[in-house]
Subunit: 417 residues, 2 copies
């Protein structure tokens, strides 16, 4: 088989989505039966409108920096192909002699790739299709983890590591960080890595995040308040991670005044969930007022999670590149209708091999955080999660909090007027 | 003079505030007339309540990691000393034989240090006081720049660099990032550095941030909308930086429905300013609907700006350490009632010497971004700003956007049903 290859990037970008593109490009140079590699400009939109970039014209020298850049270098889109679109797709494939399709995306893209396969079968159009996984949500089936997740895990854990130290600078201080994750709590769980950057292992019980709420676990406001009170009573402060999907779990009837604020459409990127929980704590937490007022803040981490320049995980970069290049090698050996996967090799040292699975095992499915990686109280993670996640991050910044002994007091207690 | 030294950290922490503390500690080992170095636990609160940490007991080995950790390792506070407090301060100084005071903080701390000096004079208590500058806001007088600013500049520019690439992944996409800065726009201006990470200099006109709004410049919603429309018309998208202080500039009478949302108290850390501007754009921007809907998002960057672990500027770390150690050397040579300053040495290669200025030149004053560093349209920065700021950041991640030629189309235009 001989013809042109088309690469599509789809859905929300990640910090390493361009590594997979660069991997496809690098491997394509070994195969003369790939005439040109085109990039679909803005995903399926570009495919429907024949907006193709001729990536074969880019000099080899640009790909290192493209690969290191966040965002989808080809442009992305969030379009599901309709029946009428599928006919057009094959008109375009025919006109441009597209024989090899690489779909870099999540479970929605896997579904789109399947629809294109079904139409190809109906039309007896010969095209090979391989799906290259990409999602910060880490919620694809079969693969050990998803390219993009290691980097978002590194970003959110460095954010929470620093934020917890910032927060402990103040008395009576409670900080909530709302992270991405509607159905799966992988990103929320990853903030637990913040503890592991602390050199001083004895301090791990004191450093945050102290509480982590995942969509996989039942959530009630009373349990949440009890957890925060317990943490405050133990440490005089709290650093809390909440997955945005928690908003779907709130009992709207019980909190009628708030129910309009948690419509699904407004959830993502809005500060409402954090503000709501923060106000709840301000109203209910019993704190030591001799140390000052209660300080309660929330941040919604937003697009920085998937796009921060200069903080990608090296492992994640390498694996994303390898998945792209291996997808091409597999396709040239005749494989089609598959997703490339990461398979963790058991052993002392972390390593993954790159395998294949049927596309239909992935499309429209979601892998949740297993209960065994969530602690019994449902507000944190277990060692099993740390074993799973730590190899995906690379080095952590080495941080430390002071544990200095206090000097003996010499004066009567001071009561401030 | 012989006695104990006391170090106070005050106000909002930075990513490098502990470097100055480590600098004081390192230099203190050279002077036997400093008996012990105490840290005031939670700023002035610790001073009033004799909550001192005996830092001399910490092993030398911990200071590297403490210095690299964000947050105030001693704990901070936001308390202004009252007259009744000042009497207590000197009871505590006397009881603990405090003869050397280091105040690491911003212009509020400089004022507190001045009040302590005046009380010392009244009581004829012999104490030396040196203020070590610290503020992400970069708004202290005399010093070329403030420790903490280089790191926040690096963080916000890496955020905006990645976010702009994420944003350009989508058609018709407008993104607003709200950054800290109530009165001075230094942090907002620093997001312009995002352009300079792009290897491809020709691309600098296309990459964001395309518009930057500083509190130093008049702001009207009509001018803002015109700017966004012009950027959209040129590029089909826009990445915008807004300093939080812009909220104070909004004409509340004209936008009566919104006026309650911009109370000063709620401004910081709330998403309201971003949401307000985002809604304004959604209502008013004329866009090409054949490419899809308008996508308009805002993020309020929050505490991550000053606390992100693992992304401090190396220059900033070094200078903050040197200011701490030099503050101690100056004090031991007899100096008091001064702030240590960074003085940029003219020349090809960036370097600063460490000088001194009178505390009263700094207290309660604010250094704004000079008009010559802001472009004529008032929505961006000039080369003069880049010359000022780039040496403070260190290396930028090297990123690149694709500029690939489009493939010739072969089919009739597709109209999607």
């Amino acid at each position: 088989m001989r013809g042109n290859a088309l690469v599509i990037q789809s859905g929300g970008p990640t910090a390493v989505i361009n590594q997979s593109l660069a991997g496809v490009m690098a491997a394509s140079r070994d195969y003369p039966n790939i005439e040109n590699v085109y990039g679909s400009y803005h995903g399926l939109h570009g495919l429907l409108h024949e907006n193709f970039l001729d990536l074969s014209l880019e000099p080899v020298s640009v790909w290192k920096e493209i690969a290191n850049s966040p965002g989808a270098a080809l442009g992305s889109a969030r379009i599901k192909p309709k029946n009428s679109d599928l006919e057009r797709v094959f008109n375009v494939f025919t006109a441009h002699n597209i024989k090899f399709l690489f779909y870099i995306g999540g479970n929605d893209s896997a579904e789109a790739a399947q629809l294109i396969r079904e139409e190809a079968n109906r039309l007896s159009y010969d095209v090979r299709i391989i799906h290259v996984p990409k999602t910060i949500d880490n919620d694809l089936m079969v693969t050990d983890h998803c390219p993009g997740f290691g980097s978002v895990a590194k970003v959110v854990s460095n954010i929470v590591a620093g934020d917890d130290l910032d927060n402990r600078s103040f008395y009576n201080s409670v900080k909530i960080n709302v992270v991405m994750g509607r159905h799966a709590g992988w990103i929320a769980a990853a903030t637990a890595i913040a503890k592991k950057g602390h050199i001083d292992v004895e301090a791990h019980d004191e450093v945050g995040p102290h509480l982590i709420y995942l969509p996989e676990v039942d959530f009630t406001l009373q349990k949440f308040l009890d957890d925060v009170q317990n943490t405050y009573d133990r440490l005089g402060r709290a650093t809390i991670t909440v997955a945005e999907g928690i908003a779907d779990k709130l009992d709207h009837d019980k909190f009628a005044g708030e129910q309009d604020e948690f419509g699904n459409a407004q959830l993502s990127g809005s500060g409402q969930l954090g503000d709501f929980l923060s106000n709840l704590i301000k109203k209910n937490l019993k704190f030591n007022s001799t140390l000052g007022n209660l300080r309660c803040r929330s941040d919604t981490l937003g697009y920085i999670q998937r796009s921060l320049a200069g903080m990608a995980s090296h492992i994640d970069q390498t694996e994303s590149f390898q998945l792209g290049s291996q997808a091409l090698h597999y396709m040239m050996s005749g494989e089609t209708d598959k997703m490339v996967t990461l398979e963790r090799i058991p052993g002392q040292t972390y390593s993954c091999s790159i395998g294949l699975c049927d596309l239909k095992l992935v499309a429209q499915k979601t892998k949740l955080v297993p209960r065994s990686m969530i602690n019994s109280q449902g507000n944190g993670v277990t060692e099993e999660f740390y074993e799973y996640v730590l190899p995906l991050i690379g080095d952590l910044p080495e941080i430390r909090a002071l544990k200095t002994p206090h000097v003996e007091k010499k004066l009567p207690t001071y009561v401030r007027l």
